[in-house]
Symmetry: C2
DNA sequence: ACTGCCCTTTACGTCAACGTCAAGATGCTC
DNA sequence: GAGCATCTTGACGTTGACGTAAAGGGCAGT
């Protein structure tokens, strides 16, 4: 048996995935309730395989880009159903394209927001460099931001 | 009196803004309740000026990129407070930069999601072109999407 | 003066996405 | 076999962002 097959056959407990993706068990069960996941059972306990893990990744990515769980479910379902005939697939294709258009619009929004914030930053930097240059954050602070983004903070958008 | 000044002095009723930005009066009052807007009054009625309108634009953009109202309020407050001393401004600057970093991360997520969807699209297109080329959407459909995006559907992300 | 229409405030309802117990099953280990 | 950890299924609570209904003020037209 090849390594690849063994990797594909590897399974995960609910805790495994919770730790890996930093979500609570409650969240995973909730996603299952809503039909976004359907792990196997071993006795009472849930057993997640690679496919389940991949779906979870898609769920979390979808959330980060602002999709609701029902929207995410739609998309996941489309991925699944695509063996069920050509008409179904054509429908999926259309939905995919709509999603792409929506995401591209959202990207533009983000770019706009970034630009706006950058403008504010520049104004403040100019002001500060005139009146209190000592308060201007130096390279240190940038490093800190970079470090935060690189290790352990994949989802900095939710300060809640 | 110049045209510019007159434009700046122009005011808006609640309905004006609701129609223009496709939100409900309830939403505007809610934002006011939460301290994101504070329009003038004329008798009982709210009167919005250009500054209020600009703030509303920022609010809606913030929402589209996934910020909560309280986060948006923080940012708006920072824009306002920046006369209150250099220390305050340095703090704002830091927050702005954090926001920018978060938005850039989100942008990467979106790019990833778009790529993923594009991949799915291509697979489906290949499949369809083999088995049912007649079902492949043509230029027509693209036009429809474009039209939808151009007039009257600035916010296609919220199918809710 | 009466009818509409739009404005106002107050207050309760709702929906999504979980959090938070509660109560019980299963399995390890000392 | 008693304790402990971890799993399970309910079921109710919570937060954010409004929706919606109730009760009334103000003004235009007839």
């Amino acid at each position: 048996m090849s390594q690849d097959l063994r990797r594909l056959e590897r399974t995960f407990t609910i805790r495994n995935l919770c730790v890996e993706f930093k979500v609570t068990p409650r969240a995973l069960r909730f996603y299952e309730d809503k039909g976004l996941l359907y792990p196997a059972r071993e006795g009472m306990n849930r057993v997640y395989n690679h496919r389940d893990r991949a779906r979870l990744q898609l769920i979390l990515r979808g959330k980060r880009v602002g999709l609701s769980l029902s929207e995410i479910r739609e998309i996941l379902d489309l991925y699944d159903e695509n063996d069920g005939g050509a008409a179904q697939m054509a429908k999926s294709l259309k939905k995919f394209r709509e999603r792409i258009a929506a995401l591209e619009a959202q990207r533009e929004d983000i770019d706009g927001a970034i630009e706006q914030l950058r403008g504010g930053c520049e104004r403040m930097e100019r002001q500060l460099s005139e009146i209190r240059p000592d308060l201007l954050p130096q390279a240190d602070d940038y490093d800190q931001v970079l470090r935060a983004r690189l290790d352990g903070t994949p989802d900095a958008a939710h300060t809640a």
